[in-house]
Subunit: 567 residues, 2 copies
């Protein structure tokens, strides 16, 4: 049984390609063999639903289709039933026809018949199965946490649900089950996991959805290495079982400080080199005032040797300059390394010794393009780090079938938010400081590092977690440092603070974004290709037309009114 992919008449014979989720097979209808089936086949159109019986036979010589998995056989039909008809679909159900995405999403039930997206969702199923089997074998319990809950402190905007029974109050949909999984550890469940939906009411970027799925884990009586070991084993198992790729373990690790120094970002793409080099020391006494003054003013100068890019055109270099400006850099200095030495507007500001020191630092060779950003630590790193990623793509160094993992560790615990004039948690307020940095909390909290870790794959953070605070006094101190008043902390997280006083075990965990993981595994360009019923960037479902208007009666029951008429 299946769907008609296409029908062809060949001198009286009718051939039908019949499709189901496993693939396509050719049906052959011969008017001499079964006139009844042949007559029915005459009215068959694309996407009709058929039930057939017949004999699987080798195709006649010369008609074998080597490109098709079933190209050596066909089914000689003995019986055919039309189970349902179909109007002419608005687009051809295949992976090659170009169709505007809004048309595809509106007719998602047809779009989902494409082999490409069916394979994505079948692979997603296998990933979830592999994750659950792996974790179950390691004594993780899958425990469901509430969807109708209270605002969680993840920093993003909550989706709210008005309560009818308790007028004027609201549930929030969880941004993550963070507090609940910690409570489960405090409850003695030892190891928890859940593949669960999370919600953030944020303006959507290309790879975000209002609801997304998280592989959520938490473990008691563990340190960072325990969590990393179990989780990298899980990821390696997923890669092996889902796409047959061997991931070598242990995965490499890198501190946050090293990631920023070498790659400018905390999610480095290790599929290629193009490392960043800080040259502040080499230029701070130089005659090139632009560099020297930035360093003297507390900034840094970083450089990237784009190996072999000395042939870039003026236009290409201008594009790179525009690119770094997106990240706040005021400009991009560049040098082409030629047989005659530096070819660059800035070459003249440096002495021969300085030039040769820079060449040594950057390993420059004839044909290279050297790129420089002089700015604050933050901007120089981000701009040049992003430029590095951009160049990796441009130079074709980012094969989708090359998988490079790295654990980034030792993140800062807090960062200073100039706007609100207080510290904010880099991960979240429940992340434990590193043991050797606890004493910094009283004197220099901005220097304290966290027991946090991210798993980065090909430049994407696919998971992140931390060892949590299990000591109520440390948790209170964190809230203090973040300028969260006692009563606010009590109101928001009182139950966690209470729970920490009744025998909380040391614990930690992690969460992986399932959608993004499946995107990478399937090599998809859009998160919408790995979700059955995704939403648009305006957070609407073009199929069901959600969100929609509701009755006055419904609003009255919920004790709310509209402040704006719907458009």
């Amino acid at each position: 049984m299946g769907w008609v992919q296409r029908r062809r008449d060949h001198g009286g014979l009718i051939f039908i390609d019949l499709r189901d989720r496993e693939g396509i097979v050719q049906l052959a209808l011969d008017p001499d063999r079964d006139p009844d089936a042949h007559a029915k086949a005459d009215r068959i159109r694309n996407e009709f639903v058929l039930a057939v019986r017949g004999i699987v036979s080798p195709r006649p010589a010369g008609t074998v289709n080597a490109k098709m998995r079933t190209g050596e056989v066909e089914v000689e039909i003995r019986e055919l039933r039309i189970l349902n008809t179909s109007k002419t679909p608005p687009f051809m159900v295949d992976d090659t026809t170009e169709v505007a995405e809004n048309i595809r999403l509106k007719h998602r039930y047809l779009d989902l018949r494409r082999p490409g997206i069916q394979n994505n969702l079948m692979l997603r199923h296998r990933v979830a199965r592999t994750v659950r089997t792996y974790l179950d074998a390691r004594n993780f319990l899958e425990i469901e946490t509430p969807i109708l809950t209270k605002s969680t402190p993840e920093g993003a905007r909550d989706y709210l649900v008005p309560s009818r029974v308790n007028p004027g109050t609201f549930y929030a949909l969880p941004q993550s089950p963070q507090l609940f999984k910690q409570l489960l550890m405090i409850s003695g469940f030892d190891r928890y996991c859940q593949i669960t939906r999370c919600f953030r009411d944020e303006d959507l970027r290309a790879d975000r959805q209002p609801e997304f799925t998280q592989i959520d884990c938490e473990m008691s009586f563990v340190n960072r290495d325990d969590v990393i070991e179990v989780m990298e084993g899980m990821i390696a198992t997923v890669f092996k079982e889902a796409i047959g790729v061997d991931v070598s373990l242990p995965m490499p690790r890198m501190t946050y400080a090293e990631a920023l120094a070498r790659y400018g970002v905390d999610n480095p793409d290790l599929r290629f080199d193009l490392e960043l080099v800080e040259i502040s020391n080499q230029v701070k006494e130089s005659g090139f005032k632009v560099f020297a003054e930035v360093v003297k003013g507390g900034g840094i100068v970083k450089a990237l040797n784009a190996k072999g890019c000395g042939t870039f055109s003026r236009k290409e270099i201008d594009d790179l300059t525009d690119f770094v400006k997106i990240y706040g850099a005021k400009g991009l200095a560049y040098v082409k390394v030629t047989e005659e030495g530096w070819q660059s507007p800035i070459a003249k500001f440096f002495t021969a010794e300085e030039l040769s020191a820079l060449d040594r630092a950057l390993g420059s060779e004839v044909g290279d393009l050297l790129l420089f950003v002089a700015d604050s630590y933050k901007i120089a790193n981000e701009a040049l780090g992003r430029l590095r990623g951009h160049l990796g793509h441009k130079l074709g160094l980012t094969s989708k079938t090359n998988f490079k993992f790295v654990w980034v560790t030792d993140f800062p615990l807090l960062e200073w938010d100039g706007e609100s004039r207080r510290h904010v948690a880099v991960h979240h307020p429940f992340t434990a400081p590193m043991d050797e940095d606890v004493s910094l909390l009283d004197g220099d909290p901005g220097k304290a590092r966290a027991k946090a870790y991210d798993l980065v794959l090909n430049g994407s953070e696919i998971g992140g977690g931390s060892i949590r605070i299990h000591d109520q006094s440390v948790q209170s101190k964190m809230f203090d440092l973040m300028g969260i008043a006692q009563d606010e902390a009590r109101e928001k997280f009182g139950f966690l603070l209470d729970a920490l006083e009744y025998g909380a075990p040391p614990h930690g965990g992690i969460a992986f974004g399932l959608d993004r993981l499946v995107m990478i595994l399937t090599g998809s360009d859009s998160i919408r290709d790995v979700i059955a019923f995704p939403k648009t960037q305006k957070a609407t479902c073009l199929l069901s037309e959600a969100p929609g208007t509701v009755d006055e009666k419904q609003l009255r029951e919920l004790s709310i009114r509209l402040a704006t008429r719907p458009k």
Copy 2:
């Protein structure tokens, strides 16, 4: 590592019962062997978190505790670390101490440490694992459907989520993924499953929660027997793997008409007999006007022989009468069968032949109690059917370890709603009529039966489903019959109607309530004993205090206002 269940001093020796999710083990601390550990143990209180090392040793003669799984051993402690302390908990963490439920729910992180509830959640994990493994082996794909979606037509009240991006509009949380799973079949996924959260904003009864979990399945190219066969195999596997109970297959089946005739209800408890017998024919010409007139007026008289209950007191029989009145019955006639014949206020109205015909029909014997309800078909069946269930409990016939399954089939498709003066779907509007009853849709739709089926276990419906309509014209006719106007149907389900026109395969499915299934498997009395973080009957979470108030700014962003101040 684990939690201190209790600590005892015995002439200088300290004994600690250490608890984790697997159970309890006794630690023995001898001041001579390890003075350091012994000294620390002195300050240990209940619910402290400990890490210990020691030698597992047989307990000294005379101190073996046969009631404990680890009662033959103890751990001679060599090293002890206090990982965390605990305040004195508000209640003892065990399954025997009586604690008010609101206290337990407020301190759920302590309540969840109880072995009873930990075992429930561990069993729940195993049930979900078994279901997924079983369905995966049968080529079901777990596919996630949206939580932020459009109002689903299940009849109950939706939870709504205001949209910020599209002011004045709302998402609805799904009452079930009904439409999405049908769309997945139309998309050619062939077999779908999902263990998923569903939401109903209804006033809560004891065994309901605002959010609940469903094992949701759908299959293409199947008939009723296909669905039943796969699903009863799944349930049998769950019973075997979760609690070691063998369920014999195939499970018995019964039509809706038979269930009502014999048990008065469509969810009969087959753990005991006490069947209902209709005696309308035997009494319609009798001298007992109350019965005869009900029958002549179109009602029925049904009876139940409560075997051996002839000893019930007047008070007990009055209680039974009060019970049937809950279900609208005007009264309950009764007869005690004695050596001297019928002892009853109504005996005198019947002739000897009538009495003997009734005795034959009811199989009455000395010592029996015969109970009669004369009323409309609906009320007589429901009142006496519920009374049957009540008697089953009262007579101790409802052992929690006796599992009696029955599939109830051939439900009516539609029922007449006197209030709205239209037909409403008994299951839901997408349920297919039985093939032989399709012609009734035009003439006598109330008589048409549906391809619907419920799985009933010990008097509880644990699952229900149907073969769906895959023909757009039949679907439109259903909406017509239900008085749903074309434009209303289009607005609400237009995407389903569209999808049905593009090659929908025959399909059907089922959904099981996971919470209730786990309740039955664990013998729990409350649904809150099988959910980690349940809500109260006022739909609040006493732990997190959800739902809560929100900022004006949040409401402004969502373009809504409160019509009522929160209390």
